[in-house]
């Protein structure tokens, strides 16, 4: 294994009440496109036949962005939707169709180093890579690339929260 992944704790957003699922999904996909995440993909899309309580969804999305020739950001988003029902609301005197239910959005930021596998091949190169990571670019990774990756995930979280009409600072 030459490619080194630095995983961060998941950022979790929970919402119970009214929200527009389509709007949330569009916000996430648009953000990935606008931020130039090249390998964006909806890896899983599960839908369960609605029970009287509502429908259930499990949607997984993943995007990767090549930042430099050595560093890559990967952001995975998992949406869990429970008891989703269509409802009609009156907002500013106008009838709008929206959804009611419970949604959990988990954002997993990952920093991938050496995505081109330059240090692949033999054990000497792998040791060299460890030396490079632990002594030469140690602070560049910890103080810069880690933060950049988390900032990107934070931006996405902010957009998602806005689409859920949550309070955003």
């Amino acid at each position: 294994m030459v490619e080194k992944k630095r995983k961060f704790p998941a950022i979790i957003i929970k919402h119970r009440g009214f929200f527009n699922l389509e709007k949330v999904l569009k916000t996430i996909t648009n953000w990935f496109n606008e931020e130039d995440f090249e390998d964006f993909d909806i890896t899983d899309y599960k839908y369960k036949i609605p029970s009287p309580a509502g429908a259930e969804y499990e949607i997984r999305m993943k995007g990767q962005k090549k930042v430099t020739g050595y560093v890559m950001f990967e952001i995975e988003v998992i949406l869990w939707v429970y008891d989703l029902r269509e409802v009609e609301l009156i907002k500013d005197g106008e009838k709008i169709k929206t959804n009611e239910g419970r949604i959990i959005i988990e954002v997993f930021p990952v920093l991938i180093l050496d995505w081109q596998k330059r240090f692949g091949g033999n054990k000497f190169l792998q040791r060299l890579q460890d030396f490079y990571h632990n002594y030469i670019i140690k602070y560049k990774i910890a103080d810069y690339w880690d933060d950049m990756c988390l900032i990107k995930a934070g931006q996405l979280v902010k957009f998602v929260q806005e689409s859920l009409s949550q309070e955003v600072t």
Partner: protein, 204 residues
């Protein structure tokens, strides 16, 4: 001996170094949604960092379902471990969760004019939380430090152990609170756990 009897209790090697922090169970006999309860406990564990979203890594070591005329019986065992934020080399947290159900039958209830599928029967959730000291076996294997292990644990690490025990017991009782909230049982802690997002058994 181990050669002849390879099946051993997992605490055989750990011995006395496992300190039981909290040991409780919740027993319930009425109408509830077993799947919801199962999911709720899993979600709580994920949020608290006890497991990942990868189901292949989830330590459900035993799942048994017996179907009889009077209903289904389940035995489900989860054995979770977590590294603490401080002192990860020396300490380790453990959560042993056991679901046991008896005579679970499908039933339907009507809430606000709509039929919902539920389960009827008896369920028991048993949790044993433990703190493992000298997790890496550093003292056990070290020839010079081995005799001082007791002094080290009982005197020098006493405050640290108390600190970890407090964190672990907090976690454990918060899980009980989440289960109690779902089952609409009496709450003990001042703050309700998981109530804002997850529905209770009566789906409110």
């Amino acid at each position: 001996m181990a050669k002849h009897f390879p099946i051993r209790h997992r605490y055989t090697d750990i011995g006395k170094d496992r300190i039981t922090v909290a040991n409780w169970y919740v027993k319930y006999k009425e109408v509830f949604d077993l799947k919801q309860l199962y999911t709720l406990v899993h979600e709580w564990l994920f949020e608290e960092g006890w497991c990942t979203r990868n189901d292949q890594d989830f330590p459900e070591i035993f799942y048994s379902q017996r179907e009889a005329a009077f209903g289904k019986d389940h035995w489900i065992r989860w054995r979770l471990t977590k590294k603490p934020e401080e002192g990860a080399i020396f300490f380790n947290y453990e959560f042993d969760i056991e679901f046991h159900t008896v005579g679970i039958k499908d039933t339907e209830i009507i809430i606000k004019g709509q039929k919902y599928k539920m389960n009827k029967g008896e369920a028991e959730v048993r949790v044993n939380t433990g703190l493992i000291v000298d997790y890496s076996g550093y003292f056990k294997t070290h020839p010079l430090l081995k005799p001082f292990k007791k002094i080290w644990i009982n005197r020098l690490l006493k405050k640290k152990i108390e600190y970890h025990k407090r964190i672990l017991s907090n976690d454990s009782y918060r899980l009980r609170e989440a289960i109690n909230t779902y089952l609409r049982l009496e709450k003990i802690l001042p703050e309700k756990e998981f109530q804002e997002f997850w529905p209770t058994k009566s789906l409110d």
